[in-house]
């Protein structure tokens, strides 16, 4: 039965073949029609020729996570053709190039097959240099005609994408039309789905990715020093900052109010932001797991000497090189306990474009407020996959610099200043920065043991007092960091907790469970250390499933550590194959977990 605006199209190509551009045009066209949609790019750690898959999902119900069923498969990669065909659902539609197809792909009889001569048609493209790349635009044309994307929409998207290059628009349009005309001339049809324009749908919405929104958030959050070392999947975060900063952050004399430093390694990047934070800048770095490992020693220095610094970690599949271009939430504990000795850190957990934007500033704020390294934990799915969102909204009007004090403040408190003294009982001392001219402002900052007056000390009492105060500060963070979003249902005995890029899949999984008659409550975790609200939530439910994209249930282990008495009331739903989590997998695994317990 044909659906309206419900379809999951998977496009299989070799990477570096120009397909990214074609896929983008197709996705943006569906967005432009006002249809709720999302995209997932599953690409290899390679520049050219390895298999890549791009999934475009239209969902009339507005679900944005990856769909676990493929309705339409476009096989443009000879290497994976046979297995790609196998992924297609029963009665699904296979689209292939008759000029680059193997017999074995066509053996399934339970699917619909449309072969079109893309290679042959591409010969009509006059410019031989771009012919092979534009061959991809032919499937855009075929799909647009088969599913109902109008020429006007395609032209509008081409204009948006290649605005200042009319010759590029023209050549792309020509390739698209080779495909769409072939469909029309051969009167080919399909009965999977019809895409129908929704008037006013997606109106005002933006299309972006988490890394872009995090970069913009940091720029609006007053970052002044950025140090980074290229690493997937965080590079685009730093590069987006480099793109927007010159436009957004020049003073009236055209001097930058920022510095971006591409460091020689992650150790240096962490060192640079630590030095900058000590000197009073709002400083951040962006990296992923391997970089985080290298930064560990410096994070310990900043933790122990209480230097504000922000670490934007876009997680990927580890350990080691692991799956550098795949997604995972497996660095939570690496962040939480980063460095040696007794450390415990604050982690922000954005889950959509607005929280990426908002939490970036918040990360810089909390680093200043708590005088410590603060982590912003994104992942490849959230960071790099393009998705629709309401426009970015600046919610917190001013920067929070915490207890950073200046000459007049020291005077006002009777010319007294003790760098590491817990003046307010919240574990957070006052801080001065170099350049402060007050004679009492100066202190010597050292990663060696020190007392409340920043004097070096190996006294056991001083040492324990310092460790305990740092923990107190971490407890303060439980309420200072964003509080979880709780959605409870009175009749529900089951709680679910998710965070980051799992949240959208869990929303859909809960919808499906609800259809099965299983009501659930949900808590979106926005930060670590855990808020007391998490404890309340778990206590209120007979069982709470914590959904994570890692093998060992890292957040669940933090829950057990904080509240061992709740250990029997939680269980983990773990999805960790490196691909963006699907509602189907969360649904299935949740039901398996619940099976023996409640049902």
């Amino acid at each position: 039965m044909s659906t309206i605006n419900d379809v999951n199209i998977c496009i299989a190509t070799p990477n570096g073949s120009g397909s990214a551009s074609a896929n983008n045009i197709l996705f943006k066209s569906i967005f432009k029609m006002g249809i709720p949609c999302s995209s997932k790019n599953m690409f290899p750690s390679n520049i050219q020729s390895m298999p890549t898959w791009y999934e475009i999902r239209a969902s009339s119900a507005g679900f944005g996570s990856r769909k676990d069923v493929i309705d339409v498969m476009v096989t443009f990669n000879p290497e994976t053709g046979a297995s790609d065909v196998g992924k297609l659902r029963e009665n699904g539609l296979l689209l292939y190039d008759t000029g680059a197809c193997e017999e074995s792909w066509l053996s399934r009889n339970d699917i619909q097959k449309i072969g079109f001569p893309a290679t042959e048609l591409s010969k009509q493209i006059p410019n031989a240099k771009i012919r092979s790349k534009l061959r991809n635009m032919i499937y855009v044309g075929v799909i647009s005609s088969l599913f109902g994307i109008s020429r006007e929409v395609l032209i509008a998207v081409l204009r948006d994408t290649f605005g200042d290059k009319p010759e590029v628009i023209e050549s792309n349009l020509m390739a698209i039309e080779l495909g769409s005309k072939w469909v029309e001339e051969n009167q080919v049809t399909q009965d999977i789905c019809t895409l129908v324009t929704i008037e006013g749908g997606n109106k005002g919405k933006i299309l972006s990715d988490g890394n872009t929104c995090s970069a913009l958030g940091a720029i609006y959050g007053g970052v002044s020093v950025v140090a980074w070392y290229p690493i997937t999947p965080s590079s685009s975060l730093a590069e987006t900052m480099e793109k927007y900063l010159p436009e957004l952050r020049m003073d009236e004399d055209k001097n930058p109010t920022y510095a971006v430093i591409q460091a020689e390694d992650e150790i240096a990047a962490a060192g640079i932001i630590t030095g900058a934070g000590w000197a009073g800048a709002r400083a951040m770095t962006a990296t992923s797991g391997p970089g985080l490992s290298l930064m560990n020693e410096m994070i310990g220095l900043a933790y122990f000497t209480e230097i504000p610094s922000s670490y934007f970690i876009v997680q990927r599949g580890g350990p080691s090189t692991g799956l550098p271009t795949r997604t995972q939430q497996s660095d939570i504990l690496s962040m939480y306990f980063a460095s040696h000795g007794d450390t415990r850190h604050v982690i922000l957990l954005p889950h959509d474009l607005q929280t990426c934007f908002e939490f970036s500033k918040l990360c810089l704020d909390l680093a200043d407020q708590l005088q410590t390294p603060v982590f912003f934990a994104s992942d490849l799915d959230l960071g790099m996959n393009i998705r629709p969102s309401e426009p970015l909204e600046l919610k917190s009007p001013s920067l929070n610099r915490g207890k950073l004090i200046h000459e007049k403040d020291i005077e006002a408190q009777g010319n007294q200043f003790r760098r590491y003294f817990d003046l307010d009982g919240d574990g957070i001392p006052q801080r001065t920065i170099p350049g402060n001219q007050h004679p009492k402002a100066v202190y010597f900052c050292s990663g060696a043991g020190h007392n409340a007056d920043a004097k070096r000390s190996e006294d056991p009492g001083d040492y324990k007092e310092l460790l305990d105060r740092l923990l107190k500060k971490n407890h303060t963070a439980r309420l200072l960091a964003p509080q979880p979003l709780v959605e409870t249902s009175e009749t529900s005995r089951i709680g679910m907790i998710s965070f980051g890029s799992s949240v959208e899949a869990v929303r859909e999984a809960r919808h499906r469970m609800n259809q099965d008659g299983i009501k659930t409550s949900h808590l979106t975790l926005l930060a670590l250390p855990l808020s007391p609200l998490v404890k309340d939530f778990i206590q209120k439910h007979e069982i709470t499933l914590i959904v994570e994209q890692n093998r060992d249930g890292q957040v669940a282990s933090i829950v057990r550590m904080d509240w061992p008495e709740l250990a029997q009331k939680i269980d983990s739903v773990l999805v960790y194959d490196g691909l963006p989590v699907t509602a189907g997998s969360v649904h299935r695994l949740s039901m398996e977990k619940l099976g023996g317990k409640l049902l």
Binding site: V225, A269, A279, M298, V442
Partner: protein
């Protein structure tokens, strides 16, 4: 009263105003002598300690910033990472005068990579290496500047080539490279003054005998061996730019190097034809000295006017760390435009 005033510098500060906490180095340690030269250099150049930041890595040498300029902010960082931390601090506040103290282990072994990249950037920074050829704080292992053939106290002979930090610094593009000896305050203090006045990165490799772990027969960095093989390329004198107008400065026959702030370094040649502005010449002389078992000292290489790292970044005016909120946040109007663009 008038007598006491003679001991005050132009800022009306006495030399003791440049002191720090009491040293915890071993008695007779070369590092203490270097701290004394640093105090003297700041005092002689009349630099306000409140305008200074002090940095270090980890090791015996890196403890020493606590022992001078107690009125300046300081940070003791991570082993080998002073160069990275300094990069961040200097970018955050380019208006301050930074000085760093590192050791030969800190710089030539664990921190070598970051050291090289700091040099490439020409950070505006005075970087002093207190070089004794051994790890002191872990009780006497070889460092990477240990000379080939030198012996440890327990007899082990170093078979590996030493890293010559001056040669490396010149190769990496350093704009001010000097070598001196902790015991030669007459040479060291003016070199530090010149380094502080230099716009750009100044590397000072200071031989500083470890009296506890590397002062025995067979050690090439023992006090005795260093003294016997010192080979100064010139006698050096320094005149702060600000004082030139106050004294009747007579030009002599010596080589004069005018620094960015107008200060003048006078070099009275001891090596015929030595030109500190000739890069290849400097490297050849360093190599020759190594072959001869000598320690070449003085201002080995100097290049004025290369843009510093913060100049490359166009950072001017108010320090980034002191920018007010209105300078740090773009307008809502811009965000509206970005949203519009992202909405296609």
């Amino acid at each position: 009263m008038s007598e006491a005033k003679e001991f005050l510098n132009r800022l009306n500060l006495a030399e003791k105003d440049y002191s720090g906490a009491p040293s915890t180095m071993c008695q007779g340690c070369g590092h203490d002598a270097i701290s004394a030269s640093i105090r003297k250099a700041f005092y002689d150049s009349s630099i306000d300690p409140k305008q200074v930041i002090k940095l270090s890595g980890i090791g015996c040498s890196s403890k020493t910033p606590a022992y001078f300029l107690g009125k300046a902010f300081g940070i003791n960082t991570v082993h080998g990472r002073m160069s990275a931390v300094a990069t961040g601090a200097i970018v955050a506040n380019h208006t301050l005068l930074p000085i760093g103290v590192s050791g030969d282990g800190d710089t030539s072994a664990i921190g070598l990579g970051n050291f090289c990249h700091m040099i490439r950037r020409n950070l505006n920074f005075t970087y002093i290496i207190e070089n004794n050829g051994v790890y002191g704080l872990t009780k006497g292992q070889f460092s990477a500047t240990a000379d080939k053939g030198t012996a440890l106290k327990k007899g082990k002979i170093n078979q590996n080539e030493a890293i010559d930090l001056c040669e490396l610094a010149i190769t990496m593009g350093a704009t001010f490279v000097a070598r001196s000896f902790s015991g030669d305050r007459k040479q060291l203090a003016p070199l530090i003054q010149a380094a502080l006045a230099h716009k750009g990165l100044a590397i000072l490799d200071v031989l500083s005998p470890c009296v506890t772990f590397n002062n025995h027969e067979g050690s090439k960095k023992s006090l005795k061996n260093i003294r016997a093989h010192l080979d100064p390329i010139h006698d050096i004198d320094f005149m702060p730019g600000a004082e030139l107008i106050e004294v009747d400065y007579k030009k002599g026959s010596e080589t004069e190097v005018v620094l960015y702030d107008g200060s003048i370094v006078t070099l009275k040649k001891l090596h015929e034809n030595y030109d500190p502005m000739n890069k290849m010449g400097a490297i050849l002389e360093l190599n020759q000295a190594k072959t001869d078992g000598k320690f070449l000292t003085g201002l080995i290489y100097f290049e004025p006017n290369r843009p510093t790292f913060t100049e490359q970044l166009d950072i001017r005016g108010t320090a980034l760390a002191y920018l007010p909120e209105d300078k740090l946040r773009p307008s809502i109007k811009h965000l509206d435009a970005i949203n519009k663009k992202l909405s296609m």
